[in-house]
């Protein structure tokens, strides 16, 4: 039996696709004893115009769920990472492009491409929500 395959790298990303963003606790506040991500978590990788994400449609095709992302991507310290979800449509409303950019360790990897000033980061934060909060217990 063959391994499930993801979409091709140039396959379009539908507006309904979930985009998962891994967020470290360093970019989270603690509110009422729970981690709350801040807008700083929705920034581009340093020196680039790309923000790393994991594409929900590829995860689905690979028969995986977002819950395993912290362990899979940050196996050495997974409890300090949570997973927030954004919709592709909300990201596009911010004049951002979405690219599939699979890497060996994460075939569902993608990027949200475009400038992300402080106001845009704030709007992205407002449109996001946790699907997997960090498991590390807040102090």
């Amino acid at each position: 039996m063959s391994e499930p395959q993801g979409p091709s790298d140039d396959a379009p990303v539908g507006d309904e696709v979930a985009l998962y963003r891994l967020i470290p606790t360093a970019q989270c506040d603690v509110v009422d004893g729970e981690w709350a991500f801040q807008s700083a978590a929705f920034d581009n990788t340093s020196g680039t115009d790309e923000m790393s994400i994991v594409l929900g449609d590829t995860l689905q095709l690979l028969e995986r769920v977002p819950d395993d992302l912290p362990e899979r991507i940050f196996g050495g310290d997974p409890d300090r990472w949570g997973v927030a979800v954004l919709s592709a449509s909300a990201v596009r409303a911010e004049d951002q492009d979405i690219r599939r950019s699979p890497v060996a360790e994460e075939p569902a990897h993608g990027d949200v491409v475009g400038p992300k000033g402080s106001k845009r980061r704030r709007r992205l934060k407002k449109s996001a929500e946790w699907v997997v909060p960090p498991t590390l217990r807040p102090d």
């Binding site: 801040q38 700083a40 790393s52 704030r122």
Partner: protein, 159 residues
């Protein structure tokens, strides 16, 4: 290497002096010291958080992010020293992927974010009061912060 500057709260007559002792080449960790007769209540949580954040190593987020830029920390402290009242709650403080620093407060409908990111030329204050959003360059943001500071009292940290 050391940087020294005066901190003055906007609401008290007391002066505070902050001195940074970064390690050679700005490599963290370095320590932050404030000398003053009576520190405002917000200083302890702020300095404690900055101490934590200055321990961040390169690639702290697995995405090649650099450690915090000391110049952005200095700018953030300078801003706090200029706009905070003695009883203003401490902000949430966090790192940007660029090495910049972000401050945030929230209480009710009021949300305040201050961004210090000299590498990208982002030095600004954002204030959202319900649907009304305003922004101002940090250098001239004092009046904008002052317009909501009373409503941050007894605030919980930002969400």
């Amino acid at each position: 290497m050391a940087i020294a500057f005066n901190i003055q709260t906007s609401s008290s007559l007391q002066n505070y002096r902050a001195i940074y002792y970064p390690a050679p080449g700005w490599t963290p960790p370095w320590s932050i010291h404030v000398n003053g007769p009576a520190e405002p209540a917000w200083w302890e949580p702020v300095s404690q958080r900055l101490d934590e954040l200055t321990q961040l190593r390169p690639d702290w987020d697995g995405r090649r992010s650099p450690p915090l830029n000391p110049g952005d920390i200095v700018a953030a402290i300078r801003f706090l020293s200029e706009v905070m009242r003695a009883d203003t709650p401490a902000p949430w403080i966090g790192p940007l992927s660029s090495g910049g620093v972000q401050l945030a407060w929230r209480h009710g409908d009021v949300e305040v974010e201050a961004v210090f990111d000299q590498s990208r030329g982002e030095l600004e204050l954002l204030v959202a009061d319900g649907e009304d959003e305003r922004e101002e360059p940090i250098d001239t943001a004092g009046p904008l912060f002052a317009s909501v500071v009373d409503r941050l009292h007894a605030a919980e940290l930002a969400t």
